[in-house]
Symmetry: C2
Subunit: 153 residues, 2 copies
DNA sequence: TATTGTTATACTCTATAACTATA
DNA sequence: TATAGTTATAGAGTATAACAATA
């Protein structure tokens, strides 16, 4: 009887002993460290911040889509959106073709806030990266697209 | 006049054009994806979950230290801790030497919850990793300790 | 007198239920 | 009749202020 040489999950887990574990820990820690690197957006609640981030990633979304993405109920999302509209960070627009639906998108001011937040995190990260060797930065340059691919699985 | 060859931050940012940006995005996305991979701990609030995670990483802490770590006020942490004690996930003990202080630590049951949460995330991650090539996994194995080092800067 | 933590109270945020408008 | 969103109300969760115990 021939042996099955197709790599299965258990076998890979063994040969890559601990890779998932160390990768999970390091990714979660770095993400937490980056998340703490905030400033201007400090007066926003976590959910408000998450809405800005989601809209920055996904573009304009409806109230229902936003509620689903942030895992809150529609009435809560109505409130969150209203609050951000009052702050001048979101704009509501009617859906072309379905008058029940409300489309929400970032204002220019919100885009500036998001960009500033990114700039701040990346400035911190650049400073840390500058203390690595060229070879080490090369490894991270190779790793980044792989992490991206994993996140989209 | 001799040119200064010491690499400065601006120069490195240019040569590593976009590294901080792509790395930040990929790390944050993978962390978000991993965070969504939960199940048993679904009946806990985000702050309750964070307290379990912090205690799992740092060991026993006082109410004040926990409040500082989670960025909530002491009365709120008292409430969160009481709730977790009622659920059998935390135990309170007097501080040896300072009777004002309360030391909080995980119960065996809480440790089991945390381990199960990690197991679940790592099972998902292992599955995704199994679809990468050996060379790609090698890159991630090299990258993990670098990410860890960045997070501790 | 200063510090750690708790209790009392008010405020904010979220969820459920009922309602309006549109499909 | 079903769906998207809003309004009204009740329920968690957090913060501020006042307090108790210890240093």
């Amino acid at each position: 009887m021939l042996k099955d040489v197709t790599p299965n999950t258990a076998e890979i887990a063994r040969t890559d002993a601990g890779l998932a574990s160390t990768l999970r820990v390091s990714v979660m820690r770095l993400a937490r460290r980056l998340r703490n690197e905030r400033d201007a957006e400090d007066d926003l609640t976590p959910n408000q911040l998450a809405v800005l981030g989601t809209l920055a990633r996904c573009g304009a979304l409806t109230i229902g889509e936003l509620a689903g993405a942030e895992k809150v109920q529609p009435p809560s999302m109505t409130r969150i959106v209203n609050c951000l509209v009052d702050k001048g960070l979101l704009q509501r627009r009617p859906h072309p073709g379905d008058k029940r639906v409300v489309v929400v998108s970032l204002t220019d001011e919100a885009r500036a806030v998001v960009l500033e937040s990114r700039r701040r995190k990346e400035a911190w990260l650049n400073k840390q990266l500058s203390e690595l060797s060229l070879a080490e930065r090369r490894i991270l340059r190779d790793a980044a697209p792989l992490l991206e691919r994993l996140s989209q699985a």
